[in-house]
C-alpha cells in the first residue's frame, strides 16, 4: 500500500510540475499571503483558507454552506449526561497525504488527535513553542486551556475529551480551523531530522487537497489528494493567486486570469454582475456592525440616552450609502440567519423628534461626544469613517455635537477597551462557529476589557448567557437566547447598525462552489467546465 501511495504521489507531482495539458485547474484570487500552512498558530481567514480548509480535516465539519456540524474524521460521538465527556469514534482508514517529503506508514489514529491539541495546550510539549512567539491565539481565545481537563486515548480509533465544565459549543468549536488534525508521525519525522520549521512550510493533512508549492507572496499550488476519505475532487489543480488589491482581483477575474475571487470592493460589484462571463453569488453575512456606547460614562450610563441616540440614526441611509444596498439594518446583536434570532423584537424607530424629546426628558442638553471610526474596512462595515460622518450628521439634527476620532487599527481597539473611553465606538463581529454564544459573549461581563466595548455588565443578561452555555437542549437554549436579545434591546448597550451581505464573484464555468456563512472559502466539491 505504501509503495502504491508513494507512486501515486510521485505521479501526481510529476503531472503538476509538468503542467499536464488536460488537468482541470481552478484559480482562486485570494486576498493575502498565508503566514504559514500550519492551521493552528495563525488567526487570519486567508491563513485558514490556504491551510485548514484545503489541506486538513477536523473531527467534525461544518456542513457545506451551513453552521450545523456533521461527522468529519470522527464518524460518531457520544456525550456523557453531565456534558463533561465527549467520546469520538474515529473513521477507520483515513490516509494522511503522501508527498515527496513525507510517506505515512499508518492511517490516522487517536495519537494524531491528541497531538493536534496537546501541542497547542501543554507548554511541556516540545511542539508548543516550535515557532518563535506562537501564542496559539485561537485555542487560547476559545477558552480551551481552561476547558480541557484531559484527552484520553481509549484505543487506536477512540479518543475521549474530558472537560472541566460543560460547554455546549464544544462540538462546533471542534469544527473550527485551529482544531484541524495534524500528523504526529510527520511531526516525529521532522523532530528526528531537526527540521521542525518544515511543519508549517510543507504541510501534511488528511484534507481534499495536498500541498504542492508556495512561491512566497505570489502563488500557492495544491493538487487533489487521491486518498481523501471524502473522495477525490473533480478538479486536479487548485491555485491561489495572491492578489491583495480588490480592484485588481476584479480585473483578473474579468480577464479570465482567475476563476473565482474573494472580497470584491462594494464599488466593483455592479460591474462584475454586468459581465456576461461572470456570476456573483451572494449571501447574508454571519456578522454584525455596531456602535458601542460606554455604558459606564455619563450620560451614556442612562438607558434613555442610549435609546434616544439610537432613534436619531437613519440606518437605512447608511445601508444605502455605505453598504450600497448590500446589507440590512440590524435589530439584534446576532444575525437573522442564526438560530435563536428573535424576530419579534422591534428595532428602535428612526425618529429624530422623539430622540430630541427623550434627550430633553433625560436632562441632556448640549451633549458633545466622540464617535470612533475604524481605520480599516471590514465586511460588517466597509467604510467606518463614512458611517461616522452620517451618524454625526444625524446626531447634529437632534442637537448632539459629535467629533470623529480614529487611530491605527491595533491602537484603536486597545483605546476602545479603556473603561474611561469617551464616546461611542464602532466595531463589528463575524461568527466563528455558528453558535449564538459566539456573538452574545461579546457583551458578557467577563469580556469587559477584551471584547465588550460597551463595558456593559447586566446581571439579567449575564445569567441568561451562563444558563445558555450550560444547557444542551437546543429548543431550551433558543428560548434563553431569545430572552437575552430582549434584555439587550431594552438596555441598548449598542446601536446595532447592519448585517452585511457577502459576495463571491466567479466565472460561469465554475460550479459547485457553496458560500459559507462563516466566511470560509472551501473548494471541495467545486468543478470547472472546460
Amino acid at each position: 500500500m505504501k509503495k502504491k501511495l508513494t507512486f501515486a504521489a510521485a505521479l501526481l507531482a510529476a503531472s503538476v510540475i509538468g503542467g499536464m495539458a488536460n488537468a482541470k485547474q481552478l484559480v482562486y484570487c485570494s486576498e493575502a499571503a498565508p503566514a504559514g500552512f500550519d492551521p493552528s498558530p495563525w488567526s487570519g481567514g486567508n491563513d485558514f483558507d490556504a491551510s485548514s480548509r484545503t489541506i486538513y480535516s477536523r473531527l467534525v465539519e461544518f456542513e457545506h454552506g451551513k453552521t450545523t456540524i456533521s461527522p468529519g474524521l470522527a464518524e460518531s460521538w457520544t456525550v456523557s449526561d453531565d456534558g463533561l465527556e465527549y467520546t469520538f469514534k474515529l473513521r477507520p482508514g483515513v490516509k494522511f497525504q503522501t508527498t515527496d517529503y513525507f510517506t505515512p506508514t499508518r492511517d490516522l489514529n487517536a495519537d494524531d488527535v491528541i497531538f493536534s491539541f496537546e501541542r497547542q495546550w501543554k507548554k511541556e510539549n516540545p511542539w508548543y513553542s516550535y515557532l518563535e512567539g506562537t501564542g496559539w491565539e485561537y485555542f487560547t481565545g476559545m477558552g480551551f486551556p481552561d476547558l480541557l481537563k484531559e484527552i484520553v486515548k481509549v484505543d487506536d480509533l477512540t479518543v475521549k475529551f474530558v472537560l472541566n465544565k460543560p460547554e455546549v459549543a464544544f462540538l462546533p468549536d471542534l469544527g473550527m480551523d485551529f482544531a484541524s488534525i495534524v500528523s504526529k508521525e510527520y511531526a516525529d519525522q521532522l523532530d528526528k531530522a531537526g527540521t521542525r520549521q518544515q511543519f508549517t512550510q510543507k504541510p501534511i493533512g488528511t484534507g481534499p487537497f495536498q500541498f504542492v508549492d508556495y512561491q512566497v507572496d505570489a502563488v500557492v499550488r495544491y493538487a487533489a489528494w487521491d486518498g481523501y476519505y471524502g473522495g477525490r475532487q473533480k478538479i486536479d489543480d487548485l491555485i491561489f493567486a495572491i492578489t491583495t488589491d480588490p480592484a485588481v482581483r476584479a480585473q483578473k477575474l474579468k480577464a479570465g486570469e482567475c476563476d473565482i475571487m474573494s472580497y470584491p470592493a462594494p464599488a466593483d460589484i455592479a460591474g462584475l454582475q454586468a459581465d456576461t462571463n461572470l456570476k456573483v453569488d451572494e449571501q447574508e453575512g454571519l456578522n454584525i456592525g455596531y456602535l458601542a456606547y460606554n455604558t459606564t460614562m455619563p450620560p451614556f450610563d442612562k438607558v434613555e440616552v442610549r435609546k434616544a441616540l439610537n432613534m436619531a440614526v437613519n440606518k437605512k441611509a447608511i445601508i444605502d450609502a455605505v453598504y450600497q444596498g448590500a446589507g440590512q439594518p440590524a435589530t439584534n446583536p446576532i444575525p437573522p440567519t442564526m438560530w435563536s434570532y428573535n424576530k419579534d423584537i422591534k428595532d428602535d424607530p428612526y425618529d429624530p423628534e422623539a430622540a430630541k424629546k427623550t434627550l430633553a426628558d433625560a436632562g441632556v442638553k448640549d451633549l458633545s461626544m466622540k464617535i470612533w471610526a475604524m481605520p480599516v474596512s471590514r465586511p460588517y462595515n466597509p467604510n467606518a469613517q463614512r458611517v461616522a460622518e452620517m451618524i454625526q450628521a444625524d446626531y447634529a439634527a437632534v442637537g448632539v455635537k459629535a467629533e470623529i476620532v480614529s487611530y491605527e487599527w491595533t491602537e484603536y481597539r486597545e483605546r476602545g477597551k479603556q473603561k474611561d473611553r469617551d464616546g461611542a465606538f464602532q466595531l463589528g463581529w463575524t461568527g466563528d462557529n455558528g453558535d449564538p454564544d459566539n456573538f452574545l459573549f461579546l457583551l458578557g461581563c467577563d469580556a469587559i476589557g477584551q471584547s465588550n466595548y460597551a463595558i456593559w455588565c447586566n446581571k439579567e443578561f449575564e445569567d441568561l448567557l451562563k444558563k445558555g452555555k450550560a444547557t444542551t437542549d437546543v429548543a431550551e437554549r433558543t428560548k434563553i437566547y431569545e430572552e437575552a436579545q430582549v434584555v439587550f434591546k431594552r438596555e441598548a448597550p449598542w446601536l446595532t447598525i447592519a448585517h452585511s451581505k457577502v459576495f463571491m464573484p466567479m466565472n460561469k464555468r465554475v460550479s459547485g462552489f457553496v458560500m459559507d456563512p462563516l466566511g470560509i472559502h472551501r473548494f471541495d466539491g467545486v468543478d470547472v467546465t472546460e
Binding site: 512567539g133 501564542g135 507572496d217 488589491d245 485588481v248 483578473k252
Partner: protein
Amino acid sequence: MLRYLLHKLALIVPTVFGISLAAFAFVRLLPGDPILALAGERGVSPERYAQLLEQFGYNRPYVIQYLEYIGRVLTGDFGISIATKRPVLGEFQALFPATLELATIALIIAVLLGIPAGIFAAIKRGSWFDQATMGVALTGYSMPIFWWGLLLIIFFSGYLGWTPVSGRIGLQYFFKPTTGFMLIDSLISGKSGAFRSAASHLVLPAIVLATIPLAVIARQTRSAMLEVLGEDYVRTARAKGLAPRRVIGLHAFRNALIPVVTTIGLQVGTLMAGAILTETIFSWPGIGKWMIDAIGKRDYVVVQSGLLIIALIVMAVNLIVDVLYAVINPRIRVQ
C-alpha cells in the same frame, strides 16, 4: 583612486549605524503593537500579552533591544519574522530578485527614453517637442503611482486585453526558480511560451515604475545639456565647423552626463520607494510588497532588518555611481 574609494567606504560605516538606528526607532514610533497585530481581532488576554512581550523581548529598555539587534545583525542574523516565523534574510533572498528584475527593466526604460528625450528637448529648446516632452515629464513626475497603475490595468489588460493584469508569469507555467529572475528562469525552463509570458507580465509594472525616474532623468538631461550647450568650448567646437552630431554627442553630452549619472544613481532609491506601490498593485512578489505587509502587521523584525538591507543595497549602488562619477570626471578624484 584607491584612497577615494576607501574614503567613500569609511563614510558608509556611520551611515549604516545611523540607518539601523533610524529603522529601529521608526518602527517603534509607529502607532500600533506587533503582539496585538499578531493576535488579530480576537485579541489577547493581558497575561498572554505580558508573556509574549517577554518572549519577544519588547519589554526590555530600547537601548538593550537595539544593542542586541545590532549584535545579531553583525553576525549576519537579521532575525525571524514575527508574522510568518520565517528568517528575514531568507524571505528577502526569495523576494529580492523579483524587485531587482522589475527595477532593472524600469531603469533601462527610464534611461533609454529619458536621456534621448532630454537631449532632443534641449537641442530643440522652446519648440513644441520641448514643451510637450517637459509637460509629459512633469505629468509623469506628479502621477500618483497607484492611480496610474490601475488606469493602465483597466485600459491595457481589461479593455484591450493586451497585457496580463498582474503576477510574474502565467499560472500554467510551473517550474522551480533557479535564479529568481523570471525572464532568465523562464528561458532555462525550456517551456514554450514561458519567456513571452514572463516578459508580458513585466510590461505594465515596469512602465509604472519607470514613469517617475524617466521624468526626472529627462528633465535633468535637458537642464544639464542646456547648461553645457551654452559653454564656450561648445561654441568653439561649433565655430571650428564640427558636425552638430559630434558637438552634441562628444563635447556636450559627455560633460552633461555627470549630473545625469548622479541622478540615475539616486533613482535607485526612488525605484525602491516606487516598488512598494507598484508591487502592491500588480501583485508582484517583491520586497516592496513585503515591506508594506510587514508595516501593516507591525512586524518590527522585518521592517527594521528589511529597511537596513535595502539601505545597504542603495548605498552600494551609490558607491558604484560615485566610482563611475570619478571615472567620468577625473577632477573628482583629485578633490
